[in-house]
Every structure is written in structure tokens, then in C-alpha cells.
């Protein structure tokens, strides 16, 4: 029975907890950014596969997206972390499991692969929202296929998909918290760890919430600047 709860907000800055939180934030940002690079490159590639005229490529792209979207991220992470090394065979698995900070790398790869499926979907939808007549209009002026993509279709599609990609970029930092379940000492992990030592998890998690909020708002601000620079002027609601 804990009717009277004594708040102790100093767990957010007191030594060593303040350092824990800062370190956690750093890991969250590192994992998020590195996974984002994988997600962006792979996602654009897979999204493009899905709009090619080659059926097998389209199937491959669709299969990837469906697979990664319909399995909870935590399950994917567990699979990569616990089962992943064994996929390389008994001998190699032992060596892989000895890699220091293995969970850090698995988190980046797992989060990157997962987010790539979501990026791919936005890329596909972006291209799909350009009408067939629009493609034909470009060709009717005598441009080649390459010129059509280079000067009209890709710049246009990129501008359409920047807003949803902003949301995805935000989500990647939030999703990185799931990596605490494989022992990655990121922000959520650290706030939980503070609870384990001080029993003041409420203050620690509340503090962490505001740090995530601040991180999110900074990303929105930053992406807003990019968006403003590349926006299709006069276009609303995209």
C-alpha cells in the first residue's frame, strides 16, 4: 500500500541518474539516425521496385512491405537478436554473439529494415498519386523516359512524400525505444533503470516523456524548414 507518494524529481538530474538519461538520449538519437539512413536508402529502392513494369520486381517489393508491416516490431527485433546469429550456422553464431554491443547494431539494422517497409509504402503512394495523363503530358512534349523521371516525376513525387516521411522520421525515434527489450540502454531503458534503483520510475518516465516530446518538436521544426524550402507552392493539404 503506497497511498502517500513522495515525489522526488531530483532523480532526473541527481548523480548518476542525470548522466544515465543523457547517455540514453544519445543512444536514442544515434540508433534513430543510423537506422534512418538504412530505411531511406532501402525504402526508396523497394518503393521504386513496386512501380516498375516488371512483375517479379513488383512482387518482391510488395512481399517485403507486407512481411515487415504485418509483424510487430518487437517480434522482428527478437528474431534478429536471438535467432538472427543462428541463421549463419552454429560456428558463426558463436562469433557473432561475441561482438561487443551486438544489441546496438541489431537495433539499428532491425529498425532500419522495419522502417524501410514504411518508407517504401510512402514512396509507392507518392508515385501512384501522379496521374497517368501527367506522365503522358511529359512524354508528349518530346522528353525521353529518363528526362521525364529526372525533371518532372521524381522532383514532384519527392515533394509529395516529404510530409509523410517527416512523420516516419519522428516515428523512428519513438520505435527505437522497443530496442530496450534487447537490452539497449537508450532513453526509455534508462528511465526504467532509474526506477529499479530508486523506485521513482514515475518521475523518471515523466521526464523521459518530455525529452521525447522535445526531440519530436525539434524534428518537426527542422523538417518544417526543409518542407518550406521544397514545397509545391499553392498546394494545400498534402
Amino acid at each position: 500500500m503506497r497511498f502517500a507518494y513522495e515525489f522526488d524529481w531530483s532523480v532526473l538530474w541527481r548523480h548518476p541518474y542525470g548522466i544515465w538519461i543523457l547517455k540514453g538520449l544519445l543512444v536514442t538519437i544515434e540508433v534513430g539516425l543510423l537506422a534512418w539512413i538504412i530505411a531511406l536508402i532501402l525504402g526508396i529502392f523497394i518503393g521504386t521496385l513496386r512501380i516498375t513494369t516488371w512483375r517479379w520486381m513488383r512482387f518482391l517489393g510488395t512481399a517485403y512491405v507486407e512481411l515487415f508491416r504485418n509483424i510487430p516490431f518487437i517480434v522482428q527485433l527478437f528474431f534478429w537478436f536471438y535467432a538472427g546469429p543462428m541463421l549463419f550456422g552454429e560456428k558463426l553464431a558463436h562469433q557473432i554473439n561475441r561482438i561487443p554491443d551486438l544489441n546496438f547494431y541489431v537495433a539499428i539494422i532491425g529498425l532500419g529494415l522495419y522502417t524501410a517497409s514504411r518508407v517504401a509504402e510512402h514512396v509507392r503512394a507518392g508515385f501512384a498519386s501522379i496521374s497517368r495523363d501527367q506522365y503522358q503530358a511529359v512524354l508528349s512534349t518530346g522528353m525521353t523516359q529518363v528526362q521525364m523521371y529526372r525533371y518532372v516525376i521524381i522532383p514532384y513525387a519527392l515533394r509529395i512524400i516529404i510530409p509523410p516521411l517527416t512523420t516516419e522520421f519522428l516515428t523512428i525515434f519513438k520505435n527505437s525505444s522497443v530496442a530496450m527489450t534487447i537490452g539497449l540502454a537508450e532513453l526509455t531503458f534508462q528511465s526504467y533503470r532509474i526506477d529499479a534503483v530508486t523506485f521513482h520510475g514515475l518521475e523518471a518516465t515523466t521526464g523521459a516523456m518530455f525529452i521525447y516530446l522535445f526531440l519530436g518538436l525539434s524534428v518537426v521544426k527542422f523538417m518544417g524548414l526543409i518542407e518550406k524550402k521544397y514545397k509545391i507552392k499553392g498546394m494545400v493539404g498534402r
Partner: protein
Amino acid sequence: MIEIKNVSKWFGDFQVLKNINEVIRQNQTVVVCGPSGSGKSTLLRCINGLEPFQQGEIIVGGVKVNDPKTNIYKLRQKIGMVFQRFELYPHMTALQNITLAPIKVLKLSKKEAEERAMKLLERVGIPEKANEYPANLSGGQQQRVAIARALAMEPEYMLFDEPTSALDPEMIKEVLDVMIDLAKEGMTMLCVTHEMGFAREVADEILFMDYGQIVERGTYEEFFKNPKTERAKDFISHILH
């Protein structure tokens, strides 16, 4: 001259064009009308090779469209096209829309292309909109920019695919006026449209298409005063209310 000889086209099992024959001479304006789904737009897209067809041949200015050896990109430079929904590039200003192909395809300098574009914008009556983005233009203005974009390649032929059917009534006239001027200046044009005032003023020939076939052809007088088929009579009574 555009020669269409025995052209047939299928979408899967469905035949959209059935044995189409037609010759459009230099400086002529031909109007194509007919119910929706009759194959008018498809025929237009076959002429500049945007749609393939399985039988027959189309020859534009002596060049065979459906010859694999033909440089289709080169051919398309001579054939301008205007679409129902304008299809302007939404991320570029009116001026950039017009100058893109001249710069990238004809390799004009930016300055030359812009001079050409400004002349065209004046011709279609909206030079003051040069730096506006499409979303800030009315439908009629967008369509006039689209016409200018096509004309910027200095085409010998123009294809219009229902250029006024997505427009509010008060904007139709401003687009038709531009088209009428073009026809009178001697542009060779093929227009899919139901604007019969336009047809009466400039059409040398009217084609009536139904179920992928040209079922009637003739001058404005012949077609309206003396339609031969029931389908055409029906159609005329519908568009004249």
C-alpha cells in the same frame, strides 16, 4: 499530314479501336466527337505513340509512328498535345512549365526559352501569370498555360483531348478562343471536343466515333443537318439539348 490506316487496338480482349481510317491534311482542323468510351482519346494517344496499337499504321509527316526504328521522342516534338485535366507540373511555375522541354529537349538557352515562353503567354493572354504556380491559376488559365507549353516546342500538329470538359462554363470561351486563333493561323489540329460552336467555326471535318469505329464523317453542315445513323442523331439531340 497525318495518315491513319486500318488502325485497330485492343485492351486485352476488348477492342477499343476498330479499323480506323482517316487523313488529316496540312492546315486542317478535324473535330472528333462521340459518346464517352468510344475510343476518341485512345485514337489521339496512338497518333503520338503514347499508346501502342496492334494493327494498321499511322504516318505523321511521312514518319511511321509504329515503326520500331522511328525515334518516337523526335516525332513527339512535332506533335503538341493538350489534356483534359491540364496536367501541368505542379511544382513548377507557369514559365518553368513552358520552358522545361525547350531547354531540355531542344537545348535552347534559358534566355531564349523564356523569351519564347513569354511570347506564348502573351498569345494566350496571361503574361502576368508567368511566375504563378498552377494551383494559383484558374482552370482556364491552367489550360492556356498547357497550350503554351505544347506550342513552345513549335509543333506542326496539335492534339486536343477534351480541353474544355473540365472547365467551368465561363472559362471555356477563353480556351476556345485560343484554339480558334490557332486553327485560323493554319495549325494542323485534331480535337476531341463536344464544343459544337468551335466545330462550326473552324472544323474542316467532323468525325463521329462510336464503339471504336468512325461511324460518320463530314463537314459541320453535313453532320448536323443530315446525320445518317441513329446513333449520331441521338448524340446530336443530346448535345444540342
